[in-house]
């Protein structure tokens, strides 16, 4: 039985570690589902978990590159807060005076400002690490303190709210979704693209005369990928928008609201952003020279250098990318809350590192996947939301998350040792 399962996994060419993580996630969902009489398994909860995971998951994809190259970034939580506060002040205090309140371009300027600010600060940290050779732990520990302090200085500690209405859509909520129809279109296109890529890769392999998976195995994988995407869209499209929000939305669209009118949320915009980031980062990791050099440098820094890779500049690029992703995460986090206070992003660096590490990124360098980090973020958020909905005290929540982190890494170490990977 066990051997049959193993050979099936082999034939499908699945990564056992991926299956393990998905298994852990499903177990967590079922356990909390039982303890909450199914409330945890409702479309509403899946919608919330997906939105709440987005910000940390976006940063976790960048943290994979940082940790793969044997570095660490402790500054992302503070940087998220600093960017969030600066951009909030920009759209609350500066841009309305210059362009007029509610100007259409405010959200676009804010988005670019957040990403550029993150990339610039990240690049600077990367330069100190790569060229001045100060260890990443120290540089980003410094950044952790500097950004948190700088965040206070931006507005002397004043909370910035409310944010631009269009900007706010990037954080989710009843309005910040694709809506039902677009969600279906999104799901169908995503499923077609996934299947298309699998076919393309198979054809390329076959054209070089390499062995390919049996057709039935490929078919099952395509069905799982397409089915998973469409299942997700179905769940998001089964969460009705509450009455109050419905009145607001219909009024804004000039449609008359009648009792019994039901619209569903659909896929939240931050989740769409996360998926776009995750796909882009996976392509970068697997299909670009930059990604190849990240992994080569993590596996053997000396070999990378001797192969002519400029590992110093690579470090600058990796931290700039981490900063840009922190900028995107900051947009999601501040838009979701519709306000930025001095606490924004506190402890996020630890959630991000934990997500990457639970997702199988090795601190010894050279190994880690983007999808693993995203699933790691989902596991962390599911645990936290689940415990909150069961009514576990906040201190105990931290204890559980801490223990799970250590346990997950231990399991990973045992797995690596057994498989020799």
């Amino acid at each position: 039985m066990q051997n049959q399962a193993k050979s099936l996994i082999n034939k499908l060419g699945l990564d056992p570690r991926l299956l393990g993580m998905i298994g852990a996630l499903v177990v967590i969902w079922i356990v909390f589902g039982v303890f909450t009489d199914g409330r945890f398994l409702s479309p509403r909860n899946f919608f919330n978990v997906s939105v709440q995971s987005a910000s940390v998951a976006v940063m976790a994809t960048g943290m994979v590159f940082v940790i793969v190259t044997r570095n660490i970034d402790l500054s992302v939580g503070s940087l998220l807060g600093f960017i969030g506060m600066s951009v909030a002040a920009l759209q609350v205090q500066v841009l309305p005076d210059v362009l007029g309140l509610g100007h259409w371009s405010i959200w676009i300027i804010s988005v670019f400002a957040a990403i550029l600010m993150g990339a610039a600060l990240g690049a600077f940290q990367g330069w100190v690490i790569g060229y001045l050779t100060v260890p990443a732990f120290i540089v980003t520990l410094g950044g952790f303190l500097v950004y948190r302090g700088a965040m206070w200085w931006v507005t002397k500690g004043q909370t910035q709210a409310p944010l631009d209405p269009t900007f706010r859509l990037l954080g989710g909520g009843a309005e910040g979704t694709l809506g039902e129809t677009l969600s279906w279109a999104f799901g169908i296109i995503a499923a077609l693209v996934a299947v298309g890529f699998m076919l393309l890769s198979r054809r390329n392999k076959a054209s070089h005369g390499f062995s390919v998976k049996p057709a039935w195995a490929e078919g099952i994988l395509m069905a799982i990928a397409a089915g998973g995407i469409l299942l997700f869209v179905t769940i998001m499209n089964s969460y009705p928008i509450p009455k109050g929000a419905m009145k607001r939305i219909t009024k804004a669209q000039g449609i008359e609201y009648t009792d019994g009118m039901v619209w569903n949320h659909g896929v939240a915009i931050p989740v769409v952003i996360l998926l776009a980031v995750a796909i882009a980062m996976t392509i970068v990791a697997r299909r670009t020279r930059f990604g190849r050099y990240v992994y080569a440098t993590g596996g053997n820094p000396e070999a990378a250098e001797l192969s002519g890779i400029n590992t110093r500049f690579l470090t600058v690029k990796i931290f700039a990318l981490m900063g840009a992703l922190t900028g995107i995460a900051s947009i999601i986090a501040s838009a979701r809350l519709n306000a930025v206070d001095v606490g924004l992003g506190t402890l996020d660096e630890l959630r991000v590192i934990a997500a990457a590490v639970i997702g199988g990124t090795a601190l010894s360098g050279g190994a880690g996947t983007i999808y693993g980090a995203v699933i790691g973020a989902l596991i962390m958020q599911s645990l936290q939301s689940g415990m909150a909905s069961v009514g576990v005290d906040a201190p105990l929540q931290n204890i559980v998350v801490g223990v799970v982190l250590v346990f997950a890494v231990w399991v990973d170490i045992v797995y690596r040792r057994r498989t020799g990977a």
């Binding site: 070089h208 390499f210 392509i283 190849r292 080569a296 596996g299 053997n300 250098e305 001797l306 002519g308």
Partner: protein
């Protein structure tokens, strides 16, 4: 002395690490189609000298001439531009990547879109491995899963694939069994016949006597001398290595 222009001439190279003269004003040269052995104890400075040629270190002074023209080699990328390829003693492989990714590391084949073309690289790797080591089959696994000999053949394939004119081999047979060592010997003969110049670092005198045309011996960072292997015996080379004593009655280049 030959009238031909040397392929490589390293003149008066010196480098110190914290007051220790690792390479102390050494000059060596290499002709096309020639194998020059670099001999010496551990710490004699042979690997350091060669790392200056491959761009891993920058010398404190001295000059390098390639085909009679002064060459500026400040990093491994520069060395590759002069078609200098190196097989390092440590092999310099990224253990977490597969054979094809290592072979093309820093020089990936790309698709028209600019993304790395793994399938094309694997196909090329299969071709060259078919010539170098027909038993090699593990193309999908990371090189950490390979045996010492297989890893060595990946490192050799990487040096040979890109039209090397100057090849540096640092202890290429240290990790190999007798059969694989024989394959390396045959490969060296082949490359020689193609006019490639090879610096062979070794502490095995028999290897050097068999494979090399000339031998340069180093001791304590200094060049003892360069001799034609046909002029000297094993014992002559040994006393050069151990005592730093030049053999009598034969021409010694210093």
């Amino acid at each position: 002395m030959d009238k031909q222009t040397p392929l490589v001439e390293m003149r008066d190279i010196h480098i110190s690490f914290g007051g220790i003269k690792a390479v102390d004003h050494v000059s060596v040269d290499l002709m096309p189609g020639e194998v020059v052995g670099l001999l010496g104890h551990n710490g004699a400075g042979k690997s350091t000298l060669i790392k200056i040629l491959s761009g891993a270190y920058q010398g404190d002074g001295g000059e390098i001439y390639i085909n009679g023209e002064k060459a500026e080699i400040n990093n491994p990328r520069d060395a590759r531009k002069y078609n200098i390829e190196t097989i390092y003693q440590t092999l310099a492989l990224a253990d977490n990547l597969d054979a094809a990714s290592n072979l093309f590391l820093g020089r990936e084949l790309t698709t028209p879109l600019g993304t790395v073309n793994d399938d094309a690289m694997e196909a090329e790797t299969r071709k060259i491995m078919g010539k170098l080591n027909p038993n090699f089959q593990k193309f999908a696994e990371p090189v950490s899963a390979l045996s010492g000999g297989q890893r060595q053949s990946v490192a050799i394939a990487r040096a040979v694939y890109f039209d090397a004119k100057i090849l540096i081999m640092d202890e290429p047979t240290a990790a190999l069994g007798p059969h694989e060592t024989q394959m390396v010997s045959e490969l060296i003969q082949q490359l020689k016949a193609q006019g490639i110049g090879i610096f062979l670092i070794s502490h095995d005198i028999h290897d050097v006597m068999e494979l090399c045309d000339r031998a340069s011996v180093m001791k304590n960072g200094q060049l003892v001398g360069t001799v034609d292997v046909n002029d000297v015996t094993d014992d002559d080379l040994l006393s050069m290595i151990i005592l730093g004593k030049k053999p009598e009655g034969v021409p010694v280049q210093t």
